[in-house]
Symmetry: D2
Subunit: 356 residues, 4 copies
């Protein structure tokens, strides 16, 4: 049953398969009057694009976006934005040989059971190529958030045992790992490079932050802000864990330490003097910075032989060729930003209905 | 804007405040013909009830449920089930003194900003008392799942530095911590007891499992099974982290280790020989056990003085009296089970529409 | 599948069966801060109550409503309003004899086929008693609309060949037909009385109007204002036709006559000099009065023998005893008002998100 | 707020403006395994295409559809179908002169008030060109319905005082009015031709029927089958009235005449001996033919001077040039079929969840 839409009022529907004609999205519910250009969207798509460095897949796609509707004289009209990116470097032949084998760590088997058959070309719709529609929609969300003074930033926090020791946001886009610590970034690149040579892949952690989020966003009791963000993040391929503020560290905490005292900030606003809670209390934003972390598994596609079965259940050995990412982390950064932007845009609009 | 419903087709709406007249729920979308009795629901409510032991709040509520509709001659009719629990031990006077102060770690401030005012009696709707409606709905979900051979179990895995060393499911309901390791449970109780005496509270981790889940549940790309479960869990008060399978451990993993080889099981079904993935691949269940963990923060209500501000932003000291849980873990167990049951029931029904 | 909720953001869920324990509703999405009392709701329920006159059913129900949540110190809190009315005069015994027969004009057969069995007591949930939840929710909607200067009125326009010749709104609540023409009302009462003596029932037309609706309500292209109103009205039992403005009369119209010229009104606002369109153009309100008419079929329950079949398909004769309305018109009036209020409240809130 | 999607589980989102780059749709929730080709969709689009005869607009559009996703090896995959039609004969210049005037009978004014500005080129999204996405989605719905033995037919029943005297379905596609009575069709064409010469337009009535609909479709109480059909039809531009079965004729009916006796049909199934009810009772299909009628207003665009105001509210005279339909009836036929198909497909799938 239909599951390709996200958001209640700022509502994105993505479509498209990895090696089909095109991928894209329809964004319904964007308010009228938002200044928007193709470049605003293209810029974000360029950030998630493949073939950018030695730590990402070598598939060559320009990912040129076309905006087909909803835009008139440089502003959104209140009607759906339809955005389209043609697939130009599709090479389904890479998958012809293994179309009857289930790739370990991939959705091939569960997809077959669910739908009776599947588009086996590069994972079809389970490919990360689907996230193009998310990033396009997220680009519009970011513009809407900007009108309210909200900014979002994400970065690679950890790869294996390597963790950023400092958060220099200026550094993020300067290195191919999108790590805010230049020295650690260098070590990470070396580690990814080695994993690639060993035909293996690596997991890690991305941290995401939103600043300028006004207090009051989030809808108790099921559409709490952390609940919708949690859903958004767990809908991204490869994500196995999500935590806010202190996250799993709360298992070791006491209430007396963990509770953040309320204070009056220098600008007169009320807030908390510490931010263990990560910007959300009771499902509603507090005005403090929203902080979360995502655990991303090592990409399942690795160029070494693995044991599996075919559709009949017979044992087989599979080697996944094709062009793959040895780590998803740097490309996950713009995707995670897009998903957080989509959630916040949705709740920014929903908040308008809170009071008479 | 409306956020008190959960599920697309098996759809629960909860309502009610901690110290209002009653709490309850409306469950729409339950198929007709499901055998159901009041006892089925009462049993689950009794598990989450307060006043059961020295590790939970001393508020005395019988939580007797009444089923007002949707049931005829012992079976569901396909019409909405309305379920009601009267509040009998409400003591709003406990909160009169602090109604203008923001309790640290609570939703008081964010709620005030959002709605302009709030029901300050025991947190109003942000109270965990709201979860009665969830557990009532979850009880019906469990019955539906049982018709498909699906069972759910949750337990306290960790409290501070104490972690269950063995998982003996028979043990869970035998101790007041709902820990599957009797020896560790005893240590946990002692630790909670001490925290209570110190007027403090403790965080921890609950693990949740579902068995017998058929492969094919979950709707790409946004309503992935882990996405909807993630949302469900993050909608529970106090949850700060959710992880599936290896969870945050994937940060240290390599693809070659983390990928679970597909095999033919002894019963002829296809599955995986290991279960690092936690029962879901590509957002769709694989037929393997679903495993997840929840990080619960220490309850914010502690009976020691804390610094805060009042509604005007002036500094103040607050001491939260009332009857509180020194840890949420044992009561979180039935709530987490209920939420997982609701998600699985929803997707079990949604799966019926996957194929022509 | 779940179909008991109405509205996207001002969202009403009704529940309950005719001869069950109670009927009621949950209203989610009502903004915080709306002044509301039990009396506001009771007043509307009293208008739709049975047993009020010789033109309605003789079932005796007080329909006392209880508000269980969402209200604090006289104002809505932004949390769900749960409202409850106990059934006190349920007499399921009236239906015991005919529980295996399909009453002509009723939902018995289609309900049986759909769900496999049914609550046969008074039609169960297909009874008009379900509309109590709608009227309760509609009462809250009317209060919200009042804050924006919107008022709604409905009345019996036509019964058989009798049609109101003048619309005196002061007259509506003065006669038991709720007809705005006192003289015609008298004739209608006589006609209903005669039909009742002949153990028969009568159809007719109700007209509904909304004034003070600001221009701009309605969401192209599927949630057009007339589309959502149309759905609302066709969800009321007995409605077989809905028309706006000139309605079916447009079949005979020419564009040059039917188009309403735009003008500047005396108050400076833009509007139309005539109102053939009925207050909505392109799915969006124009600021002119919204006018629609509903065709209501004669009640299916009549106390004369009718031929039918039983569950096995065998021919049978059925005589429906019990307490029935010889016409639904006067009681349809508050129900139609409630449904229109629900739609307008929903769109009034949705409009808040139209612009950046 | 987002209103461009229709259907709960078989969910269509349309996008695009009359003189923008393209129009199209995304269809989510179509089950996997449905045989589908581009021709299946193109055939329906060709039926609604303009420029086909002297009774429709002379705009020349080939309306070639491209299916961008969701289709693999001739079958739907369970993922969203994205369909695209480029606008090739857009002539926005036709509208440049009148962009500040409000065309009588059109959405120009209400759109401006709602969104603050509008795409004035040919009505932008309020143009009937938007219905291309509906017809494309409806084509897929028809294929799904065909697998269940359901067929849909619509035709022009009435134009002004001319009404089909016989329903010969073979005749429908043989004449340009799509009238099932050849003789009356000829008179209709003459009348339309005359109206066009007089620079005027005509209203009328379309009748729509569905056969083979199994009993049990429709979801009480708000998503009743007639309620969802009612919404679908009122979402089509120009529709001012919808009626089922006897429709507004019920105002003159008595229960004893109007009730349809239940009988056992020759094939053993249960049904009714007459069909005054139009195939739906209690919101649920009965298995009898579904019959409804739509009243369509005369097209608002007429090539004669009309009085109006400009955006400032100043009086003005407007003459709408461009290429317009003197009647919408023949082109309404495939659109009405598409909308009915979408509703039935949605409910056919929803019905799968009715029972345990």
């Amino acid at each position: 049953m239909a599951g390709n839409s996200f958001g209640q009022v700022f509502r994105l529907t993505t479509w498209g398969e990895s090696h089909g004609v095109a991928v894209g999205c329809t964004l319904d519910g964007c308010p009228a009057g938002l200044a928007l250009s193709v470049d605003d969207v293209q810029r974000e798509l360029d950030r998630r694009r493949v073939g950018q460095s030695k730590v990402s897949s070598q598939r060559q796609e320009l990912d040129r976006v076309e905006i087909l509707s909803g835009l008139f004289e440089g502003r959104t009209t209140g009607t759906p934005l339809s955005m389209l990116v043609r697939n130009t470097d599709a090479k389904p032949g890479h998958y012809e040989d293994i179309k009857q084998l289930y790739r370990p760590g991939h959705a091939d088997y569960s997809w077959d059971v669910k739908y009776g058959f599947r588009d086996w070309r590069g994972g079809g719709r389970s490919s990360a190529r689907e996230t193009i529609g998310r990033v396009a929609g997220g680009a519009v969300a970011k513009l809407l958030l900007a009108t309210a003074g909200i900014t979002i930033v994400a970065y690679t926090l950890q790869l294996g045992g390597l963790r950023a020791q400092q958060i220099d946001e200026q550094e993020i886009e300067r290195n191919i790992m999108r790590c805010p610590d230049a020295a650690v970034a260098e070590l990470m690149v070396a580690q990814v490079d080695q994993a690639r040579r060993e035909r293996d892949s690596l997991g890690g952690i991305v941290e995401v932050r939103a600043r300028g989020v006004p207090p009051g966003l989030g809808e108790p009791v099921f559409d709490k802000l952390q609940a919708d963000i949690g859903k958004a993040m767990f809908s991204i391929p490869a994500i196995k864990g999500v935590e806010f503020g202190e996250g799993f560290g709360v298992a070791h905490a006491r209430g007396s330490q963990h509770n953040d005292p309320f204070v009056r900030h220098a600008d007169g606003s009320i807030g908390t003097s510490t931010n263990h809670h990560g910007g959300i209390l009771g499902g509603i934003s507090t005005g403090e910075e929203i902080i979360l972390r995502l655990a991303a598994k090592p990409p399942a596609s690795i160029a070494q032989p693995q044991s599996t079965v075919n559709q009949a259940g017979d044992p087989a050995t599979i080697t996944v060729h094709g062009r793959h990412d040895p780590t998803v982390l740097p490309r996950l950064v713009p995707i995670a930003e897009a998903m957080l932007a989509l959630v916040l845009a949705d709740h920014l609009l929903r908040q308008r209905m809170d009071r008479v």
